[in-house]
């Protein structure tokens, strides 16, 4: 329910609606985008970044919150556990139970490897579950993996690692088919044609969806398949350190029961980090659309054993986080709302940008509208712009919202806002970790052997910005690939003597660099208790 203070602005939005529907705003030129990003995108705010003092990326800048956690103390000492009596001894250890972890585990299991998933919450408590809008794949006759490549490469500012992006786009149709054959329900017409839409920065309509529960539908199906396959799942248990063998290769992890604090050793021939993103680090004080456990754990685990980070200085702020009411502050309003025709409108009812610019550009444009241009709406806890959802019903016909974005309708209806009739208030929210651990095309880290990474914990697939629908895609493509490759590799690995010597070595490096801190990492969960 909107209070009276919004009435005048809503009236302006309503009055301009017909004209705004007809109006086709121009897309920005490359130069306009560059200038906008440099002035308003949070990634360009130098004071929020510091150089790492230790580790493989020493000298590189990262958000200061990430630097603090990467250079914090281990939660354990090497002699807290007995490496000679592992509680688990498997071929493939998958850390993380989201979309990438479960895809990896399913493929590793199918390849005959003894596979185990460890996850600090429940399997499926992951950003995958919350991905709403869709998953890209170039499977229409007017499209091709090459066009998909160009869209993603340009959208990511020409910084993606070509061999990773090649894999992403070329394996995409098979990823969709794989999911469909597991029973994922994609939106289709009666003859089986996939219903596809645009996302920001796409040049073809290649966004496949399952209403606006796309990630949830994928995640619950993958979870069900893991349970059917008999893969060992150890939930409410985090990985707090990786274990290497005396050859310096990954060989397991120290696990901690999240409820009892009990430490256990898992020995493995290969390890897959699939720990997801970092929204709960709340970089630059932003709210987040991410799930509760998104705390960059995999980056910490990998970095401490010597793995390299790539593009850890770049984050994605989703342009449309819910800005009102306060109960859903920061929650994701799917880009699909704009794919279906809703435009971004300022306090005076004016359309100020093309609704389908890439996410970084859209976020920067909204920040500019609310800051220097002073055209934002005061929400009581900040400023915001309107996303004029009733346009969707006018363009697509009555009932379009309920059919195509039921989750959005439900989220706002909880608080008395009918998005079919009333516009909604949005502002950028911390959404995605563009950077992560550096891998090769097989998914193995470039610095530590037998250590694989998949999903949001990887850096370099998308470059310095990611297009909508390429993340659900990358967790499936790179999850499956990591699972297959880790399983194959496990057949030729003989694990040497286990060691946790890296803990003391990293601590010494920190001490020598003058780092003094009480902080421990990985963070595992945010602390929202009243201070």
């Amino acid at each position: 329910m909107y209070s009276e203070k919004f009435t005048a602005s809503i009236a302006a939005v309503e009055a301009a609606r017909e004209a705004n529907i007809a109006y086709e705003p121009a897309r920005m030129s490359a130069k306009e985008k560059e200038e906008l990003l440099a002035a308003y995108h949070p990634d360009y705010k130098k004071s929020e970044f510091v150089a790492l003092k230790v580790g493989a990326n020493k000298g590189d800048v990262v958000p200061h919150e990430l630097a603090d956690t990467l250079q914090a103390n281990s939660r354990i000492k090497a002699d807290d556990v007995d490496l000679d009596s592992p509680a688990y001894d498997v071929d493939v250890l998958v850390i993380g139970g989201g979309g990438a972890g479960t895809s990896a585990a399913i493929e590793a299991h199918r390849a005959g490897a003894d596979t185990m998933i460890v996850t600090k919450l429940r399997m499926g408590d992951a950003n995958t579950m919350m991905a709403e809008g869709g998953i890209q794949a170039a499977d229409k006759p007017n499209d091709s993996p090459a066009i998909h490549y160009l869209d993603a490469f340009g959208g990511g500012h020409f910084a993606a690692k070509p061999e990773l992006l090649y894999k992403l786009v070329n394996d995409a149709p098979d990823a969709i088919l794989w999911l469909n054959e597991l029973g994922v329900e994609f939106d289709k017409t009666e003859d089986g044609t996939m219903i596809t839409t645009h996302g920001g920065g796409t040049s073809r309509k290649r966004m496949h969806a399952a209403k606006d529960y796309t990630g949830a539908e994928i995640m619950r199906t993958l979870r069900d398949e893991v349970l059917n396959s008999g893969i060992t799942v150890v939930d409410f248990t985090s990985a707090v350190e990786l274990i290497l063998d005396d050859a310096g290769n990954a060989a397991g992890a120290v696990l901690m029961n999240m409820e009892t604090g009990e430490l256990m050793v898992a020995r493995a021939k290969t390890v897959i980090i699939a720990t997801g993103g970092a929204g709960r680090m709340h970089y630059q004080g932003f709210p987040t659309s991410n799930h509760y456990g998104a705390t960059a754990d995999g980056l910490v685990l990998g970095y401490r054993v010597g793995a390299k980070l790539l593009y850890a200085d770049t984050l994605q702020y989703h342009p449309t986080g819910a800005a009102y009411p306060s109960q859903i502050f920061g929650a994701l309003v799917t880009e699909k709302v704009r794919s279906l025709g809703a435009k971004l409108v300022n306090a005076d009812g004016k359309v100020f940008m093309h609704p389908l610019e890439t996410r970084d550009v859209a976020a920067a444009s909204i920040i500019r509208e609310c800051s220097d241009r002073k055209n934002g709406v005061d929400t009581g806890s900040g400023t915001a712009v309107w996303l004029d959802t009733p346009m969707i019903e006018k363009i697509g016909g009555e009932g379009t919202i309920e059919k195509r974005i039921p989750a959005m309708m439900r989220m706002f209806a909880e608080y008395g806002i009918d998005i079919r009739k009333e516009p909604i208030l949005v502002y950028p929210t911390l959404h995605y970790q563009n950077g992560g651990l550096d891998i090769d095309a097989d998914g193995m880290t470039t610095a530590v052997k037998n250590l694989y990474v998949a999903g949001e914990a990887v850096g370099g697939i998308h470059g310095r910005n990611r297009l909508m629908g390429n993340s659900l895609l990358d967790i499936i493509v790179f999850g499956r690939s990591a699972g297959k490759n880790a399983a194959a590799k496990s057949r030729e690995v003989s694990v040497g003597k286990l060691t946790l010597d890296h803990i003391a070595a990293f601590a010494k490096e920190c001490k020598d660099a003058g780092i003094v801190t009480d902080a421990v990492s990985p963070k595992l969960l945010p602390d929202y208790r009243r201070k």
Binding site: L121, M130, N170
Partner: protein, 224 residues
């Protein structure tokens, strides 16, 4: 001074700001959540919660992450409920009526009390989708249950011991895999890729200098 309400977490009294969700109120009260907290936005079903307002008779159920506190709420969370999940090979089952009889025969013991529907945090017509499952109408069961977050509240209220979310999960997978029409364009494209159709073109893109890629990107044709 902020408006506050009085709530009771597992029977213990706390005064909390009135605009908080139940989940944030628990954190405000000092709980560091491990269980019963996942996506924090209504998609994952981790935070099933039961409450009763002081003086009222109705037991209410909700997701703690998207329900605002009210004065006099007695709150108990239900972070785990022992649902029955039957194991099956999705490649070998068929979308026949028999499969439900084999895997979830308890659905035929439904007494029609409708407690499941009344308790659904997503306001789904749960009893109806179970009826569709009983009749082998999996497409309808899939559609009716689509927004299920598998929180398990329905099952906690069911006198017949039905694990509704798992029944619906099976129906959706049957529908997605076997009943929904196949996508010919998808299968064709997968075949083209396996035949290496796009390899040369992609490899040539990978080798182009960045300036040339910028040129291509900035001038690409965008489908209306």
């Amino acid at each position: 001074m902020q408006d506050t309400v009085t709530i009771y977490l597992f029977g213990k009294k706390y005064d909390v700001p009135s605009d908080l969700t139940i989940m944030c109120a628990m954190e405000y009260a000092g709980y560091q959540l491990v269980r019963g907290c996942g996506c924090r936005n209504g998609f994952c079903g981790a935070c099933a919660t039961i409450y009763r307002i002081k003086g009222e008779r109705d037991l209410k159920v909700c997701l703690a992450c998207k329900t605002q506190v009210k004065d006099g709420m007695y709150i108990a969370t239900l972070p785990f409920f022992p649902l029955v999940k039957q194991v099956y090979d999705v490649e070998r089952i068929k979308p026949t009526e028999q499969i439900m009889m084999q895997l979830y025969p308890e659905i035929y013991a439904c007494i029609g009390c409708n407690a499941c529907t009344k308790s659904c945090a997503q306001k789904l017509n749960v009893m109806q989708y179970i009826a569709y499952a009983q009749r082998g109408e999996y497409e309808k069961c899939a559609e009716e249950s689509f927004d299920c977050v598998m929180c398990g509240i329905c099952s906690s209220r069911c006198p017949a011991g039905i694990s509704h979310p798992q029944v619906a999960m099976l129906a959706r997978r049957l529908n997605g895999k076997y009943l929904a029409p196949k996508s010919a364009h998808l299968e064709d494209r997968v075949k083209e890729i396996k035949d290496g159709t796009f390899e040369e073109l992609l490899e040539s893109l990978m080798q182009k200098p960045i300036d040339e890629m910028k040129e291509l990107y900035n001038n690409r044709e965008i489908e209306k």
